[in-house]
Amino acid sequence: MIAALTPRTIAVAVVIAMLALVPVYAHLVGNLFVLSLFTRIVILAIAAVSLNLIMGFGGMVSFGHAAYIGIGGYVVGILAHEGVRSGFVQWPLAILLSAIFALGIGALSLRTRGVYFIMITLAFAQMIYYVAVALDRYGGDDGLTIYRRSQFAGLVDLANKTVFYYVCLALLLGCVYLVWRLVNSRFGLVIQGSRSNDRRMNAIGFPTFRYRLTAFVIAGAICGLSGALLANHTDFISPAMMHWTRSGDLIVMAVLGGMGSVFGPVLGALALLLLEEALPSVIGLFAVLFTGKDMATAREYWQLILGPMLLLIVLFARGGIDGILAGLRRG
């Protein structure tokens, strides 16, 4: 389907174009931190897009989605530590193991609804977190350094930061396309119907549990991939990469960007992580302006600004950034 030129599609095209030009900009101004920041954004956007498949379209608010980032990351880290450096082994295994964990977690937690579902997914994620903490051989709480990024038989060199960025970006766009196809397929209509009215779905003849579980596994698998990428990006794994606050961040990204669209979480990841970078400086600037002193401690309160912003989005712009863009056409 060819989308019409609405403010929304234009925004999506502009964002993709800008993402594609980030390395050019970074090299022009010689600021490699920008490249690193955007690599992180792109990787976490993959996780947010996968979460939105089950949360936005399936109504399954998983508060343990970061666990799959951890699993994907640990597969890469542990294999690297044990001398298996081929990405052809590491990445599929990261995806597969995440899918298997999602199958087990989903099979149990999808029997509950609402708050119970949120709590049980959080509980499973915490269990996995503490297992990682207990892995003394792989650094325990301190984590583990990865000395060489995944090797792809010389085809792509992930040590090259620009190449790595484009690999991540291509995978993000691939995941967005995949999820877009999924939500518009028969399968996607079933999970959306189940979000809307599960009782009716049963009454018209759908065994919804198996479809919801499948969506949960697909989301886990995609998120596992983002974990494998994140481990390569930071050259490091630690339990912190699957801390429960990261699961919260992923939810915030999806809500902020807009759960009603496949691309929304990408916008949300961009917005949240860029604000996370920018707000401390803004606060620092204000502190200098008003007190004349550089108050380093003031910068730590950047969430004081982010919080109300989120509140406003939830209260007045249910569809998030994407909803605002979609509304421009009518407004």
Binding site: R186, M201, I204, G205, F206
Partner: protein, 258 residues
Amino acid sequence: MADAEAEPLLQIDRLSKRFGGVIASDDVVLDVAAGELHAIIGPNGAGKTTLIGQLTGEIAPNAGRIVLAGQDITALPAWRRSAMGLARSFQITSLFLDFTAQDNVALAVQAHAGHSFRFWRNARTENELRAPAHAALARVGLAARAAQVVANLSHGEHRQLEIAMALATRPRMLLLDEPMAGMGPEESARMVALLRELKQDLTILLVEHDMEAVFALADRISVLVYGRVIATGTPEAIRANEEVRQAYLGDDDGGGDA
């Protein structure tokens, strides 16, 4: 219509359901013959919706059996009963409010078009789903409203859509739980006309408060009082039944509202 020769399509055999001390179904025995429109009437709290719930599989009975076309379905989950051709409409409208009317019905079609582990093709452009959905919408008179989001449709249209969705599953039997609830006289008249048309080729179990509609449509009527079937028979027989008059209809005539 009520021939005892052919095996009934639906047999309910001594079905019992208790909620704590309340007996919602008390040894309910009921047969619905293939092709008949069988109505269940009874005062509020007689256990009509509980009975429907047990038939569709949402409520598990404490005792008794439900047999559909010779097969015991008492323990089957709701979705499997639907797959066997038992379709229901809900007393309180239960739709996919954020979907269009068309998407609602297409989903019902899809439920009976094999499994839905199809991940790639755009389901909204699949003629295999859209054409039957459109036919069902046209049958209940909603063709012009197909592209509307359901939340924006009127109450009467919601009831029509309920029926369209039940029809779209190509059922052998329809369970209609108060399809006329909350309807104005004009909408009710249209629904009666629709049900009269549907009963040409479908077996229907109708739970309804609108006595005029029931007596106009039903081949047989069962009267449920306190969870128990106190009488089953033709509309004339029910109208003449002394026990029914006393328990339910009032003494003057059969046209009064409960």
